[in-house]
């Protein structure tokens, strides 16, 4: 991999008077603003068009993306984003639609949203779906607010505890706290499942009357299917709590397992994971929530419904509706509609058997990598995995080498590193998720790199400790980055 040069900021490229665009004469009267609102100066970069293009093309070459190679960042599901999704999102009838357009004037968009609600409901086994949450964490927030409101409506105001396994995403306890409830942590057992004894102790002990519900990710963040999930759901329901499924790992279930049929009451999807809409700087997320009948009246709104049935040649009329006891709006307008479009295109292209194949290939690829890598790296939970698995980034006899060093060295081999140090319950965790689109040759190349790195760790640990060697800034100082936040993009060099 060639070393790309670090680039100056665009502010450092300009020269006074250099311009890239000639704006037309203003054809409306200039507004007069109060003096205190006017700036003295506006230091924008003064650059020509070709400089702008070259600057950003060079920056893009410093980037690493799924379009370049394997991106096994576990838990994040960095799956390939099919280009047809982008075609769909750029259709002018959608792309130029103003969010304040009358419902009469955007029936096509409303139809699409209703179809997507229906399909997500079908895939998850839930009665109703709202597309409005802006991303996964907002979907979680919506889910817990709905659970809270459900209990309040039943006069169960004392239910203020949400059970959360210790393998959970950090957003789960954060969501609970943000919703004004209390998180109670549950340990994992030796198989990586929720410890049923600890769960039953919580559900049958002092907390019983206070349990509002449980948040759980399936498969867990260890990539393991909760093999006792039905018992977990029964125990929480028996205590009067509701079950929230964090759909972050839906890529291992889609088309194969319906969370609603398992007994869950509510879940969120990450359209930007499971349904291939871009994320990680490539676009906003989208955190649709699905619910069963008892929570349907509480969905965040508005959702799209048929407001007038079809009649003869007349198609049905679609419109926005606020659910009866809605927890309210979570976002201006109607959620991240551009993401709804892409997710719709993805489901439409694959169809139901294709969606199932996505899941099967995701799980097959992860198990293939797991089986090959467990000869070299310690696998703390030796079970079949879902769409991802955790290794310990520690090599016997190379004590100075940590998971972070292995990850940094992978960059030299041309791969994006896996997720480091999550889940927290595995020391030196490397969370690896290849996704469904990788072919065997690419998976084998990743295994070869991981094996080569393990050999280097014993033979020449310094090579790992100083990695990456090919990135323009080498090893970043993470301590300094965490302690000395510089969030302002001011000119780096004096003019």
């Amino acid at each position: 991999m060639a070393t790309e040069e670090l680039q100056p900021l665009i502010y450092d490229l300009g020269s006074p008077g250099r311009i890239g665009v000639n704006l037309p004469e203003c054809d409306v009267p200039a507004a007069s603003l109060p003096a205190e609102l006017l700036r003295e100066s506006l230091p924008l970069p003064e650059v020509g068009e070709v400089q702008v293009v070259r600057h950003f093309v060079k920056l893009s070459k410093l980037n690493y993306s799924i379009d370049q190679g394997l991106y096994p960042l576990g838990s994040c599901t960095m799956k390939y984003n099919p280009k047809i999704n982008e075609d769909a999102a750029r259709l002018p009838g959608f792309a130029q639609l103003h969010p304040l357009t009358d419902e009469d004037g955007c029936q096509g968009a409303l139809y699409l949203m209703r179809e997507l609600q229906t399909w997500l409901g079908e895939i998850s086994g839930f009665k109703a779906v709202s597309l409005s949450p802006a991303a996964g964490a907002q979907g979680e927030f919506a889910g817990i607010l709905m659970i809270r409101q459900y209990h309040l409506d039943r006069g169960d105001a004392q239910r203020d505890v949400i059970l959360v396994p210790d393998s959970a995403h950090g957003t789960n306890p954060a969501t609970v706290t943000m919703a004004g409830l209390n998180a109670h942590e549950l340990p994992a057992d030796s198989q990586g499942n929720v410890d049923l004894q600890a769960l039953r102790a919580a559900c049958e002990g002092d907390l019983r009357e206070r349990i509002a519900g449980m948040m759980i990710t399936v498969p867990s963040t260890l990539g393991l299917f909760e093999s006792t999930i039905l018992e977990v759901i029964d125990a929480v329901h028996a205590a009067g709590g509701l079950m929230y499924m964090d759909g972050a790992n839906m890529n291992a279930l889609m088309g194969v397992v319906k969370p609603g049929a398992l007994g869950f009451d509510v879940m969120h999807y990450n359209l930007h994971k499971t349904f291939s809409t871009p994320h990680g700087g490539g676009g906003p997320g989208s955190g649709a929530v699905g619910v069963n009948a008892r929570l349907a009246p509480y969905l965040p709104g508005p959702i799209v419904e048929i407001v007038e049935e079809e009649e003869g040649e007349e198609p049905p009329l679609y419109g926005f509706v606020m659910p009866e006891k809605s927890i309210g709006r979570l976002k201006a307008f109607h959620g991240n509609f551009g993401m709804h479009l892409r997710a719709y295109a993805y489901i439409r292209v694959y169809g139901d058997s294709g969606i199932r194949d996505v899941t099967r290939y995701a799980v097959l690829n992860a198990n293939y990598l797991r089986a090959r890598l467990m000869a070299t790296y310690h696998l703390p939970y030796p079970r079949y995995c879902g769409h991802e698995f955790v290794l310990e980034g520690h090599i016997e006899g190379a004590d100075a080498v940590h998971a972070l060093d292995i990850s940094k060295r992978l960059m030299d081999y041309g791969f994006h590193p896996p997720t480091n140090y999550f889940p927290l319950i595995v020391p030196e965790a490397l969370l690896i998720e290849p996704t469904e689109t990788e072919v065997k040759e690419d998976l084998d190349a990743f295994v070869a790199a991981m094996e080569a790195i393990a050999a280097e760790a014993l033979r020449e640990p310094e090579t790992l400790l100083n990695a990456p060697h090919t990135a323009p800034v080498r090893r970043l100082d993470e301590v300094k980055a965490a302690k000395e936040l510089v969030l302002c993009c001011a000119p780096a060099l004096p003019r």
Binding site: D399, L424, E478, V479, A482
Partner: protein, 130 residues
């Protein structure tokens, strides 16, 4: 996962705090094993002097480049001192977890809960098995 120090004469909790008793005052910090696992510590925050804690309450939190963790006191009592120097130089916890990296001092209402904690040998073998 590497060598770590576990001084004798202290009490150790499963949540990786150490407890040093002098009269009715208990000094608390985190272990060498814990700082090694956390990696570079970038932030600490403690509850304030004068606050009262029940046994098992959190007295603050520590954050590293890897993770954030709550800090727990095994003993009930009043916080009589916090190591404010760590707020500017949290890396001292990495460098000297049992010395300059101490975190809080508590005037304990009851020292009995310490009986249930581990001694150095027991904590060492507990860490070996993790």
């Amino acid at each position: 996962m590497g060598d770590w120090q576990t001084p004798a004469g202290l009490k150790y909790a499963k949540s990786d705090e150490w407890f040093a008793v002098q009269g009715d005052t208990v000094t608390i910090g985190i272990t060498d094993y814990a700082q090694d696992q956390l990696n570079d510590i970038v932030y600490v925050e403690f509850r304030e002097e004068g606050e009262s804690l029940d046994a098992g309450d959190s007295f603050g939190e520590v954050e590293s480049v890897k993770a954030a963790a709550e800090l727990y006191s095994a003993v009930p009592g009043e916080i009589v001192a916090v190591n404010a120097a760590l707020e500017d130089e949290p890396e001292v916890v990495n460098a000297d977890p049992f010395g300059a990296g101490w975190m809080v001092k508590i005037r304990a209402d009851d020292l009995a809960p310490l009986e249930a904690l581990m001694d150095a040998a027991a904590y060492d073998s507990y860490c070996q098995g993790r």
